[in-house]
């Protein structure tokens, strides 16, 4: 059996901005270079490259993987792109994990780069093409429909109010004030959220994370190599991913069962029996505020319909029992789709090493989780990290 234990040994990230002057290649380079510098490696030490990036429609480049390959260090190396929609950012370390865990490679550079601003008049328009071309697109759907339909069902099923959900946006945007990459750090109130423009009831403007340009990268290494590079390797102990049926309108939108399956897969691999106890810190994907709660339940970090109680009790604050999105999440840091997921992985990586600066949660956590979600409310990707 060739299985090797895999660690994250370095990380890099750019600022997340609404419009970057840099091309997607340049953003990828900036993040990749920082990741290599952070652990004292060069491309000579990197044996393969894994790239994650969301729909080609944003950048307006077909075969976007090839286009980004030079900026990502994929020159004359085994280079591969993977894609699971919005789940890509947390699938990236999983895809990289395969390369090293299989024993085929000892080091892997994982890069996620996103350039949404190239899409005019607004990147949101590109999302029309994710719906079924025959049975749905003729209705002129927009991305926000998905979230609004899901949020409505979630609120209705568990009796959760917009006021309560808005607290997630308030928390995360405030957390983001301590994140150097943050696009929308701000101190807002629940009233601000409720008074912001209604885009598609029940979704208001401040419930949503922004479109962004940005990139992130991590360096993976096998156990014997990792120990030479750093005295604080963070182990990828569990990986899980799961895709539900494309017939999304036939599912109960109030519960992301595919996130649960992905989480269980990761927990089993990591030997976690009681996630609510053993996962000390988490970065669930929060493109919209209610998603943080929705995902906490799917991740089995809260009972169904009860994540909101943990929020109201302050448990999910940085200094609470179970910090959620200490980075500031997509809501505060920004949402360059694939790079967001990797940003969350990087946050847990830094938190477990005690290197999260002003965002550091107390209590010296040793086990954390990052999760992303995507497609037509279909895919869940989870990694469990440990010191």
């Amino acid at each position: 059996m060739a299985y090797q234990r895999v660690a994250i040994v370095g990380a890099g990230i750019t600022k997340f901005v609404r419009r970057a002057q840099e091309t997607g290649k340049e953003l990828a380079f900036q993040a990749a270079k920082m990741a290599l510098d952070s652990c004292g490696l060069t491309m000579k030490d990197i044996e393969c490259v894994s790239l994650g990036t969301a729909p080609d429609a944003f950048d307006g480049v077909h075969m976007k993987g090839e286009y980004l390959s030079d900026g990502s260090g994929g020159w004359r190396k085994p280079y591969m792109r993977h894609f699971v929609g919005g789940g890509t950012g947390v699938f990236a370390p999983i895809h990289g994990w395969f390369h090293v865990a299989s024993g085929m490679f000892d080091t892997c550079l994982v890069v996620c780069s996103e350039k949404m601003s190239s899409c005019h008049p607004h990147p949101q328009g590109a999302f029309k093409t994710i719906f079924d071309h025959t049975t749905e697109q003729p209705l002129n759907p927009t991305l926000i429909w998905i979230f609004a339909l899901e949020m409505n069902r979630y609120m209705q099923t568990y009796g959760i109010t917009k006021e309560e959900i808005a607290l997630v946006s308030v928390k995360n945007k405030k957390n983001a004030m301590d994140h150097p990459s943050a696009q929308l750090p701000m101190e807002i109130t629940v009233e601000d959220v409720l008074n912001s423009e209604v885009l598609a009831w029940p979704v208001n403007r401040l419930d949503i994370s922004p479109a962004s340009d940005g990139a992130a990268a991590i360096v993976l290494a096998s156990e014997h190599v990792a120990k030479r590079i750093t005295d604080k390797p963070v182990w990828i102990d569990g990986v899980g991913w799961n895709l539900d049926t494309a017939y999304w309108a036939t599912r109960d939108l109030a519960y992301p069962r595919y996130v649960e399956k992905a989480a269980r897969m990761a927990y089993e691999m990591a030997g976690i029996k009681e996630p609510q106890k053993e996962i000390e810190i988490a970065e669930p994907y929060d493109p919209f505020d209610y998603k943080e709660l929705h995902h906490m339940e799917g991740l089995l970090l809260a009972d169904r319909g009860k994540a909101v109680e943990m929020l109201l009790d302050g448990k999910t604050q940085r200094d609470g029992d179970r910090p959620m999105c200490p980075s500031g999440g997509a809501l505060g840091v920004g949402n360059p789709i694939a790079a967001t997921g990797l940003m969350k992985v990087i946050e847990i990586f830094l938190q477990l090493r005690g290197e999260a600066g002003k965002r550091q949660v107390p209590g010296n956590p040793r086990c954390g989780l990052a999760q992303a979600w995507g497609d037509l409310m279909q895919v869940g990707t989870v990694v469990v990290l440990r010191r």
């Binding site: 370095g10 890099g12 990230i13 750019t14 600022k15 997340f16 901005v17 609404r18 419009r19 970057a20 002057q21 840099e22 953003l27 900036q30 993040a31 920082m34 510098d37 952070s38 008049p121 607004h122 949101q124 328009g125 029309k128 719906f131 071309h133 025959t134 049975t135 003729p138 209705l139 002129n140 759907p141 927009t142 926000i144 429909w145 609004a148 339909l149 409505n152 069902r153 209705q156 150097p180 990459s181 423009e197 209604v198 885009l199 598609a200 009831w201 029940p202 340009d213 990139a215 049926t245 017939y247 309108a249 036939t250 599912r251 939108l253 830094l350 090493r353 290197e355 600066g357 002003k358």
Partner: protein, 173 residues
């Protein structure tokens, strides 16, 4: 390696910078056209819509009546068995009141918001929903669980598309 110790990449520019020509830009509109083969299942679905009917497929093993119809049951992993006509009424599973268009532009002043919804169709298995629009209803009146009926285009205007149903309206007593 606190992030604060590094100089992070990405240089921001404003929309106005672009509009005022402070940055060179190159617009490009791609010519990407596709004609998807709908195949057996969706081909029949669309043909029936043209006739003002909604058709589903049944798997005799799990007994689900599925919409949109499909020639294989993805859960039992076997071909589906029968065509089944279902009704053009249903219940609202979830809905939204949308003030933005698909390209993020806002609807015009005075224009009515779009009302997307997931509608569980009567005659199909419980929970078998399709995405469609609501109409002839005030946003405040919409409730999850509300009973609705399809409003069809006139027969001569139908094309064999999901838009042959204009929208679903509330069934009022």
């Amino acid at each position: 390696m606190e992030l604060e110790k590094f100089e992070l990449g990405a240089t921001h520019y404003k929309e106005s910078d672009l509009k005022e020509g402070k940055l060179l830009s190159l617009p490009w509109t791609p010519n990407l056209k596709y004609a998807w083969d709908n195949g057996v299942a969706i081909g029949r679905y669309l043909a029936e819509l043209k006739e003002g009917r909604i058709i589903a497929r049944k798997c005799n093993k799990c007994r689900r009546i599925m919409l949109p119809p499909r020639m294989f049951c993805e859960l039992c992993w076997r071909p589906t068995d029968e065509w089944v006509y279902v009704q053009d009424t249903g219940r609202v599973n979830t809905f939204s009141i949308c003030y933005v268009n698909w390209d993020a532009s806002r609807i015009k002043k005075g224009e009515k918001p779009h009302l997307p919804a997931v509608i569980e169709i009567d005659g199909a298995s419980p929970g078998m929903g399709i995405l469609h629009l609501l109409g002839e209803v005030e946003p405040e009146e919409i409730k999850i669980g509300m009973k609705v009926r399809a409003v069809w285009k006139k027969p001569e205007e139908r094309e064999g598309a999901i838009t042959d149903i204009l929208y679903f309206k509330p069934v009022r007593r």
